[in-house]
């Protein structure tokens, strides 16, 4: 055994680390240190890339019938008998001969698993909706002997929270299934192996033995015990596939496999709405570079590893309910992977594997997953920026987030959970909290706390608007009171949810791949921002007469004054400032209330596809939006109101303050394929300039679609012609043909800008 001299004696790494530059990562668990010391930044172009290998094509061909079947039938198979754990299923393969990265969620591809620890109700509803019978033994176990997260939450919810849930002012709360949005640092398994990680966990635990057993210390001891058990189970799971992951990965293939096993373990243990993989490209690139240098791997082999890992990430499946699908259509799971960005020393973290990851979209065709996220920095190599623009144009499958904005907050080794939530990998987690419907809150303010659809008293009774016209100052004062109440109720609900989730559905493996002492954020969200901003603007700059129904409830609005009131999305400060102020104001109200485990409050302006559901549950609004009409998604201006082109629209959204929305601000832009007199090269250069301008002005996020309305309309009529048509909706991408017709119509009705 020729251990490197730099390696500590008690770490039996063998040759696994040979050739790597030593550093702090040898003596402590520190993946970031390993990356910055060993990464090979790449400033060249994409000419080195390889096509898909024969083996990749063979595996891909085996999967095609499943994809086709799924489009027709929906859920293909479920194991309803064995609740999912790392060891619940034997090894499964797609095409054992040709798979270079192995491992499935169950013993067969596309066979979904059940996760009753989150909530039995969700499991059984999901099974019934998909045409399968719930299992009697599972039912007995989770009704007689074992309580779920869902049961726990409903034991402690208040009647007020139940009202809010029902009326739709707070929805999508993770109180019935896995909360998700936790990213294990899956790279740790490849870099250190299970033995070393266990040793670190034992050391963390030993420190706690000396500490007085307060609630928090007892909880941490139990959690660490669970984490260590999870690491041992992960090693056993790998053994089912004939792999020994107790030691570090010795080459690129093992590094891919070990990292994927860790992720696979996580998705076998938790059915979170969003299960990001983190930031693996440039980490794994270090192994590829070493193998290339040693002559044991070539470019085709390197691309094969990426293509095959991505194939695995494209077939992750969870059993969901129809209610869930209405919120998050098209089976997303946010296996979000981040590429690009810069390190704290100003070097780029773009590597050849950043290209290889993007290139999977060419080799395997466009797809929504993994949710590839470019961490855009204006300092990234020009060639890579151009390549990103090209891949966007070809596939509409990328999203962009502002690394220059996030790096000062989160350092240079953060990942994106779900769509837009940044977190330091292995050092931070979040308590996910869906969102509140602020447009509805505004209507509650006008109606003294009564729901504008049902007439029910939901918020505490306050004085409703009494006159025939809305007065801006009066409405603002009332809205402020309503937001205070809403914020308090929302934090209250979140504390209940996450207390119970930790208790009954703790993510033991994902948390085993974190440090013991981490930053916890509690992520609150708002929907309907542009509706609220436009409504307040209409009240301020127009003259809004109210119409009441027979019960005195305000149900409609008529602008009898200046019709041309400023609307969000046109770079008009008069209304943009209202939108920014609402974000800051609601964040301030949220921050007033203490959180479970002292989590830091954050906020997102994000709706996923739930803008449709929220709109459906919301009455007429003073901005002229009709009852039931969808909201703009995320932070988007309302459909069609950003009428002065994408530049104006972008500049409005870029003004929203990230410091008060650290959980992310989602913005989706659709532009038609280029028709102006530009060559291919000029077009890409112009797109890059546009990105630079948007992000330089403080823009946080951009989902970019390069597609025209006509194609989408045709795809609605002839879905079979467009099996892989992918579009970005709000923070994620979907197969367009797998959206509900309602959501398809919503996407088509969004603003399409003529050109980039």
């Amino acid at each position: 055994m020729k251990a490197s001299t730099a390696v500590r004696k008690d770490v039996d790494a063998g040759d696994c680390w040979k050739g790597f530059r030593p550093g702090d990562w040898l003596t402590s668990i520190n993946v970031r240190d390993f990356i910055v010391r060993n990464v090979t930044p790449y400033a060249g172009n994409e000419d080195f890339l390889s096509g898909a290998s024969q083996r990749t094509k063979a595996v891909w061909a085996k999967l095609q019938p499943y994809f086709a079947d799924e489009r027709k039938k929906g859920v293909l198979a479920v194991d309803a008998e064995n609740p999912s754990t790392m060891l619940a299923h034997k090894a499964g393969y797609i095409d054992r001969e040709n798979e270079v990265v192995v491992g499935l969620q169950t013993d067969q591809p596309f066979k979904r698993a059940i996760f009753p620890f989150g909530g039995l109700r969700m499991v059984e509803a999901g099974l019934k909706a998909a045409g399968f019978e719930p299992d009697a033994r599972v039912h007995e176990a989770f009704t007689k002997y074992r309580k779920s997260h869902n049961d726990g939450v409903f034991d402690v919810y208040t009647p007020e929270i139940m009202h809010c849930r029902r009326s739709g002012i707070i929805t999508g709360l993770p109180d019935a299934y896995g909360r998700g949005r936790i990213i294990g640092d899956y790279r740790r398994v490849a870099l250190y192996g299970i033995d070393r990680l266990l040793e670190a966990k034992r050391a963390e635990r030993a420190q706690l033995d000396d500490m007085w057993p307060t609630d928090e210390i007892i909880r941490q001891r139990e959690e660490l015990a669970e984490q260590m058990r999870a690491l041992q189970d992960l090693a056993s799971m790998a053994k089912l596939y004939d792999c020994d992951i107790s030691k570090p990965a010795a080459n690129a293939r093992e590094a891919f496999q070990w990292t994927y096993f860790a992720y696979l373990g996580a998705i076998k243990e938790a059915n979170g709405a969003a299960m990001s993989i983190g930031r693996i490209s440039s980490f794994l690139d270090i192994y590829i570079e070493r193998d290339l240098k040693n002559g044991v791997l070539d470019e085709a082999g390197a691309q094969e590893l990426w293509d095959q890992l991505v194939q695995k990430l494209r077939i992750v499946r969870f059993l969901r309910t129809p209610d869930y699908d209405a919120l998050f259509s098209g089976d997303p799971y946010w296996a979000t992977e981040c590429v690009g960005g810069m390190d704290l020393d100003g070097r780029t973290l773009v590597t050849k594997s950043s290209y290889r990851m993007l290139h999977t979209l060419h080799n395997l065709g466009p797809a929504p997953e993994p949710n590839i996220t470019v961490l855009w920095s204006n300092h990234m190599p020009a060639a890579f920026k151009r390549y990103c623009a090209k891949v966007s144009r070809d596939t509409s499958s990328l999203q962009y987030e502002n690394d220059d904005l996030m790096r000062p907050f989160w350092g240079d080794d953060y990942g994106i959970a779900c769509c837009v939530s940044a977190m330091r990998l292995g050092k931070q987690m979040q308590f996910f909290g869906a969102r509140v419907n602020l447009a509805k809150a505004l209507l509650y303010a006008i109606n003294g706390g009564r729901d504008e659809v049902s007439g029910e008293q939901i918020a505490p009774q306050t004085l409703p608007v009494t006159g025939d016209f809305l007065d801006f100052d009066d409405v603002m004062a009332k809205f402020d009171t309503t937001m205070e109440w809403l914020a308090r109720t929302y934090v209250h609900a979140m504390n209940c949810i996450h207390y119970m989730h930790d208790k009954y559905f703790y993510e033991r493996l994902e948390m085993a791949l974190h440090d013991r002492d981490i930053l916890r954020t509690m992520a609150f969200g708002i929907a309907g921002l542009s509706v609220v901003a436009d409504s307040l603007s209409a009240i301020k700059y127009g003259k809004i007469r109210v119409a009441r129904d027979e019960n005195g409830l305000v149900v409609d609005y008529q602008n009898e004054g200046n019709k041309a009131t400023p609307q969000f999305g046109n770079n008009d400060d008069r209304v943009d400032r209202i939108a920014s102020d609402i974000v800051t104001s609601f964040m301030g109200k949220i921050r007033k209330h203490p959180t479970y485990r002292n989590a830091t409050h954050t906020q997102s302006v994000l709706t996923i596809t739930s803008n449709v559901v929220y709109g459906k549950a919301t009455g007429n609004t003073p901005d002229g939006r009709r009852k039931g009409e969808p909201f703009g998604p995320g932070a988007n201006p309302m459909h069609g109101r950003d009428s002065h082109g994408w530049l104006a629209s972008c500049l409005s959204v870029a003004k929203l303050p990230y410091k008060d929305a650290q959980d992310g601000i989602s913005y989706t832009v659709s532009v038609a394929p280029q028709k102006a007199h530009l060559s291919e090269g000029q077009l890409l250069d112009e797109a890059v300039k546009a990105f630079d301008v948007y992000f330089d002005r403080g823009g946080f996020h951009m989902n970019l679609n390069v597609i025209d309305k006509e194609t989408l309309e045709d795809a609605m009529k002839n879905p079979d012609k467009y099996p892989q048509l992918t579009i970005r909706v709000s923070g994620y991408a979907v197969n367009f043909v797998r959206l509900t017709p309602e959501q398809q119509r919503d996407v088509i009705s969004r603003t399409f800008h003529g050109q980039i």
Binding site: D572, G645, L651
Partner: protein, 275 residues
Amino acid sequence: MSTVQALEPGSRHDLRVGISPDAPDEGNIKDEEGAFGYCHSYETSSRYDGPGLRVVLFVSGCLLRCTYCHNPDTWHLKDGTYVSVDHVLRRLGDFAPALLSLGGGLTISGGEPMVQLAFTRRIFAGAKEMGLHTAIETSGFLGDRADESYLSAIDLVLLDIKSSDPDTYRRVTGRDLAPTLRFAERLASLSKPVWVRFTLVPGATDDPANVDGIARFVAPMKNVEWVEVQPFHQMGSFKWKAMGLEYKHLNTPPPSRDLVNRVIGQFQAAGCQAR
């Protein structure tokens, strides 16, 4: 423009904060003429109307009555919104940093910008102060009104030449061709960069002789950087209907790709840089 309104006092874009409302405008433009004008709308993300990304301001008022016009709602001056030049420039200022980064600028189109000569003169001057590239889209019919100082604040002229034949020109626009040709020649003598725009309308302007005439006229002019063939489209027809006007081209199809290529070919054969 949907956002035209009296300036909100105290806004951070209110450049007159702290100045008496009666204080005269400063700068080298002395007369009060052109302090207000009529605008139809604006767009911030055009890639057709000059180099880079363009903010395009459509002003109202036009003396031509082109039978295929896709903006007949800009014909009458007072159909536009009455706006102060301050407001226009303040709004332009909101976009100026981005336009500078994108290598773009301001294009004034219409309508016919030279109908409101003093107003557009002030806007161009303001845009130049922001360091922006400026362009005007014009029929050239009022070209005689554009003095040297007006043209000095304009970097590029998008000159619409609908026909080379006075009769065709009159039939299509209702006006004389001569002023346009005179303006083109003056621009050539000043070496002012020009993109000639030719709208290709099947049955109205597609006669090979008509195209050749323009090509022969333009080819010797070294200041003409591009001849742009713009295919007729039906996107403006709803406006004619909405305005209760009789639209002669209701059944005119857009030109085929072959026809467009033929016309571009004619320009190229004459020695023009055409697209």
